[in-house]
Amino acid sequence: MSNVEFIKPTSLQDACEALMKPDYLAIAGGSDLIVKMRNGMYPNLKGLVDISGLPPLNTIRTDENAVIIGSGCTMNQIAKDQLIKDYFPALAKAASTVGALQIRNSATIGGNVANASPAGDTIPALFTLVADIMIIGCNGRRQIPIVEFFLSPGKTKLAPGEIIEGFKLLLRKTRGEFLKLGERRAHAISKINMAVSTWNDGKNHYRIAMGSVAPTVLRCREAEEYLESSEQLDDNTIARAAEIVSETAKPISDLRSTKAYRKQMAGVLLKRALQNLR
């Protein structure tokens, strides 16, 4: 670990260039990366590129009809932001459940997404808010819808030299819920988590996504469509939607929980989220 070069770039461009070198990694809050390094997961690591101080990454701003959340925003910053709380409550709630206070002061939303854990708590929320991932590289910028971003646990479509600059969300008021089950009340990786966002533009829209039930976060299209086609959100509708997500979930048994429990909880969490949103 002592032979790793530490680079503190002053611009996004410099950061991207530094990240072109093989075995150089970006570091933001370090709350995933340092743990993985210590566990020997990067034996060939040569350099760390510290992007945490780069100003454009640390703000939440509006841009015409969009909100751009800088990738370097911390969980506490997001959880406390009035605009996020008013417009994207599912995300504010998700951010407020990460780790514990100290972790939320360093953990960034960019790190949570780039780390690509199937249990990452802000990812389902960003799914339901139809976020676009804004990526910057040496050759310019590109955007990818979040549903297309993840390939497998820990793997994304980011290419060498690319950094997540931020997340672009339509400036649209949503109502939302985020629920998770863990092995204890803080510092717990989710056994299962679920985000639901809903908005009305003349017609009711629902977005549902859940984590820890498949190799990547799952969007629950079937349940969304069912809810959107239902006349009202009564107990029967909720129960049926819960059955559908329970079917959609494709979990495994691991150290944290079992397949059977996760499947059943997918339904329970959706039911509770919808009841809260009713």
Binding site: R184, A186, Y261, V268
Partner: protein, 757 residues
Amino acid sequence: MPVVGKSMPRKDALDKLRGLSRYIDDYNFSDILHVTTVRSPHAYGRLNGVDKSAAEKMAGVVGVITADQVPGKNSVPLVFDDEPFLAQGYVRFHGEPVALVVAESYEVAQAAAALVKLDIEPLKPVLGIRESIEESAPKIYGNDNVFSRYNVEKGNAEEAMKSAAHVFEQEYETPYQEHAYLETNGVIAVPGNEGTMTVYGTMQCPFYVHDAVAQALGRERNQVKIVQTTTGGGFGGKEDFPSLVAGHAAIVAQLFNRPAKLIYKREEDIIASSKRHPGLIKMKIGTDDKGKITAALIDYYVDGGAYATLTPIVLWRGTVHALGPYECDHVHIKSWGVATNKVPCGAYRGFGSPQVIFAGESMMDEIATELNIDPVEIRRINCYKVGSSTATSQIIDQSCGLMETLEKASEKADWAEKWQRPEQRSGVMRKGVGVSTVYYGVGLGAGGKHLDRVGTSMTIMKDGSVHCAIGNVEMGQGARTVLAQIAADALGAPYELVNVVEADTSLVPDSGPTVASRTTFMSGNSLMLAAEQLRPRLLQVAADLLGAPVIDEVELVDGKAFLKSQPEGKQIGFRELAEKLYAYRLMPSAFGWFIAPDSSYDKETGQGNAYFVYSYCTNIAEVEVDMETGEYRVTRITSAHDMGKAINPQQVEGQIEGGTLQGMGYATMEEIRHDADGRMLNNAFATYILPTTEDTPELDPIIVEHAYDRGPYGAKGFGEVPLMGVAPAIANAIYNATGVRIRRLPIKPEKILGLDK
């Protein structure tokens, strides 16, 4: 008593609060070597060789040490001496130390360890109790895989069971528990002149370490000195294991004649150090129609792991306590400590008891349910009172506050209001209450009585400050504070002037281990014996200065001497007394040597006075269960404890609160997992789940004092008790809320919903 019975501030509190306390990793010596351990990646296998060449070639590496280089005897001295310092011939568990890599820096030692190649031919491991005791199991220890077994037989339980009005039979299982002390294992060994060796480190039992280092090096005891450094928690986990760590560092220090530092990473501490034994308990209990126990048949198994280490003694305590604090004329308890290819298990707060308490206290609840009796009431019917006879036919002759703990806890927790049958509860969120009652034999008991003595060296310094060296350690439990209180009052010295220092094997003779809740009782008594010798000398000086003809006319309390007849008259301060003590050339030191009150044990029947005295407690747990997710919150735990006398009530409450929380972790979430090949899977705090402050319930400690006439100011000892009965109280509360009986810890939401498969 100016300070005994008062919540005096802890001697070590301010330094710890300000981050000034120095732990072993904070120490350094010039020319120091760093050591890391190469461990077996297999649970079981033939060790054909160790290829050191690549590691030895690395710059900064000084050497790689294997079993053949151990200067003394390659075995850690304990009960059977069967564990080697470094594996030889075979590896017997995943994580077993095979070689030591010695380097100029910690980083180089780490990197080089990865280059040491172990030639191991894997063998099929034995991984569980049921597997190990099967007739057809491969034999990994002796001819039956049993390290030790006990038999406790009172009356004729088999016959009595036949005529019981009701018979209840169940099996219970308990998991590993990791101590998770904040400070991992670590030592520094420093070679001195003429073949001497000093080892500094975090530990609970410096005299065990003394034995181990002397044996590893082949040195005399007077050439080896062990100095305990400020210790960041032990809970039993630093009873036997530091012997091995210290042995390793001392071997390196001796071979290279340089100081050697060996500090464990958390992951290796969890993989390699002792744990609470997993338990399997088969209970068959007979009662009459009113719920009075008439017969008990109990089979108790513990998973000892790959080496016997402390298993025989852990098993003995559990065996004796297996029925719980209940009168019964016909008891037959059998027990086995079995070998498996997993990490050796050892001491953990409660020492073989929490397993059987979980079984016994769950069983009491099951009996109460079946017979339609309130769970508190069934305990009133069966619990020990003065005059009761234990499972080993010992008559409880004094100091039995069990019934008072039961009454006080149930009253404080509002039991009568809150308890109702599970069928009467409804809704998604359901509350429940559960109770457990516990007794605990203080000290080493008949099984370890040859070790049950402690020394104290007490010196009044020229300035009046008092220096006390003792044979037990401070490991965060507050021993230095409580013992200073006892010493101060016994001597008549002001508390501020009395200091009890951390243990050093060159200051007092072998005083046994710091375990079994024995420190306050044993060292407390030994300090009183020392004070008893010094006090007349101080009184003699005081009598002289006050002009009293005999010392009987003088009183010395809280650092002030005065004439008994004139309590408001002239006073002599402690510092002046000390100055005069030296001027009079009286001996300012004394030695206390306390031998535990007697205990006895019959090898065939297990009958006798197993322990000299018992402590008692009642726990009442309250839970709220979410019936849809199975998640639950432990909302409150009320615990009433009889420890004889609370020398320092705040410390007592601290012990109750901390122990209760550890017991809650054991009940609700803690669990070590292995894969099918016996490799430990969750040796990190990200995966070995412990409660955090967010999980902490409201804790309601209650002190009950039934003095013990042999105790210092009536104190017994109880440090372990707060953990021991928490799990069944919670399990019983879960049953009370949900109607679901959990017989296999931990109580996970998945199990409550039946979705754990």
